[in-house]
């Protein structure tokens, strides 16, 4: 299903635009992501970071522009279910299925979308739940877990679909400070294992130390796109400088 011989950028966003009514939130966004890239997207509140991720996996319908996954048009050449299985998403508010156990949360998509057998799906789920350290809680329901635990389950649920790309929208912003570390730890491991990741984050340490690239967004446009070393030591755009000095002095 996924094309292993494909060598171009795994994800390409071209001239993406999104308006809510008269409000243009994304103004002509273009960038591409290579396989194995870990891209952090930073920028001030309201700059359109979430909207960008939501357009990439069509939770919002883009107003204009194209998205290519493995060189094929995501909207027209990929069956929607296939595309979603390949490009997963982790939400700020976890969004676990509250009527299911931890294990069922991680098998549901595999069974319904990838048509895996229950047994196969459970093996896969257990493997990833182990990876995020949640094996002891497979029978628990989301309401019985802490925020950090919920987010680790949500990551396992996304991983169980064997995605090529994982999108994270501020995965640690809804967590108490002492739980941020456990989730960032899991994300670090994923980055090390070579997973392609797009991470909207306010965790500057993560952006600086883990990502291979940092995209800075301001008012619906990408104003800077460079390796972290460059952005953090020598930001070119005045808006980037201003933003970084504001968040780093805290």
């Amino acid at each position: 299903m996924t094309d292993n011989r494909f060598t171009g950028p795994i994800l390409q966003v071209e001239h993406l635009k999104k308006s809510f009514g008269a409000h243009e939130v994304l103004k002509d966004i273009s960038f591409s992501v290579e396989k194995g890239d870990v891209v952090s997207i930073i920028g001030s509140s309201g700059s359109g970071k979430s909207t960008l991720l939501r357009c990439i996996n069509f939770l919002e319908q883009p107003t204009d522009g194209q998205i290519f996954f493995q060189g094929k048009n995501a909207e027209h050449d990929w069956p929607r279910g296939q595309y979603h299985a390949n490009v997963g998403m982790v939400f700020q508010s976890f969004n676990l299925f509250n009527n299911m156990t931890v294990l069922q949360n991680c098998t549901e998509g595999q069974i319904r979308v990838l048509k895996r057998s229950k047994k196969e799906a459970e093996e896969k789920a257990l493997m990833y739940l182990e990876k995020v350290g949640m094996t002891p809680y497979i029978k628990a329901r989301p309401a019985q877990l802490s925020g950090g635990q919920k987010q680790r389950v949500a990551i396992a649920r996304a991983l169980a679909m064997d995605p090529e790309v994982l999108l994270f929208d501020e995965p640690t912003s809804a967590l108490d400070p002492e739980m941020v570390g456990e989730v960032l730890g899991v994300m670090r491991d994923l980055a090390d294992s070579g997973l392609t990741m797009l991470v909207v984050t306010h965790e500057m340490a993560f952006a600086r130390d883990v990502s291979s690239r940092v995209i800075f967004m301001d008012a619906g446009v990408i104003t800077e796109d460079a390796p972290p070393a460059e952005i953090f030591t020598n930001p070119k755009h005045p808006r980037t400088r201003e933003f970084l000095s504001r968040v780093l002095e805290k």
Partner: protein
């Protein structure tokens, strides 16, 4: 024949003479209320699902117009049946179909009327239930590739239905009581049997005292049963921590070849 002189004397006599008829009436009332509630629930579910089908820009015009028209029809249905009394609906449906040459058996007509009426209320109740499930879970289901139908059936509706269980139970209780209006089309439900029994000796107070008691027993019992069902739906408040030291039964067991799958 010696006629009784006291209230309870009359009650005794009426029960003795019409007991089996009251029981049959109770049976009819239960059948009408239960089938009406269940069928009404299914109608409400369909209406609510049809009304929440999302339209995306790449859908064809046929689907868009079709959904618009369907929406209008469903809205009219809900408004009409919530906006008129069931006793009037009974007359219109029963005698209306008769004037068109359709002679429905009364029990069938009764269930039909209660179902359609309940469906209109259920549609709104279920829509409220769907809204009560936070949008994020639907989005998460979409984000792992589940279709609208799959995410509704597997994620949203189970939670919606749990949240509205008290209202569904309430509809059932209301139907037990309100099916009494169906006596206008001469269904042998509980109220109708009360009327028949009272008429023989003109003992309305005693007859309807008995009928009132039966209604009360029915609604009281059903309310308790539904509470129990709700408790059961919530499941256990605890869970086993696998690999926990303090619980010897709990151990992490990865499934192996030939194992029965975990639930």
């Amino acid at each position: 024949m010696n006629l009784p002189k006291t209230f309870f004397g009359w009650v005794g006599l009426l029960i003795e003479q019409y007991g089996t008829m009251f029981l049959r009436g109770t049976g009819y009332t239960l059948i009408i209320a239960l089938s009406g509630t269940v069928i009404g629930f299914v109608i409400g579910l369909l209406v609510a699902i049809l009304k929440t089908i999302p339209v995306v820009p790449k859908d064809g015009w046929l689907k868009k117009i079709g959904l618009k028209v369907l929406n209008v029809i469903l809205n009219v249905y809900v408004e009409v049946f919530r906006g008129t009394p069931m006793i009037v609906q009974s007359m219109v449906i029963y005698y209306g179909s008769m004037s068109m040459g359709i002679r429905m058996p009364v029990l069938f007509a009764a269930i039909l009327i209660v179902s359609i009426n309940t469906g209109a209320y259920m549609a709104e109740i279920i829509r409220g239930g769907i809204i009560s499930v936070d949008k994020g879970q639907k989005e998460a289901a979409t984000a792992i590739g589940m279709t609208h139908w799959q995410s509704m059936v597997r994620v949203v509706l189970p939670q919606a239905v749990r949240n509205i269980m008290p209202s569904i139970g309430n509809e059932f209780v209301v139907n037990i009581k309100d099916s009494s209006v169906l006596n206008v089309i001469s269904v042998n439900e509980l109220y109708f049997t009360g009327k028949s029994a009272a008429g023989t000796y003109y003992r309305y107070f005693e007859a309807f005292f008995i009928i009132a008691c039966i209604y009360l027993v029915l609604t009281f019992t059903i309310t308790r049963l539904l509470r129990l069902l709700e408790k059961k739906m919530d499941g256990s408040a605890n869970y086993t921590i696998y690999g926990s030291q303090s619980d010897s039964k709990a151990s992490i067991k990865l499934p192996r070849e030939g194992d029965v799958p975990l639930d």
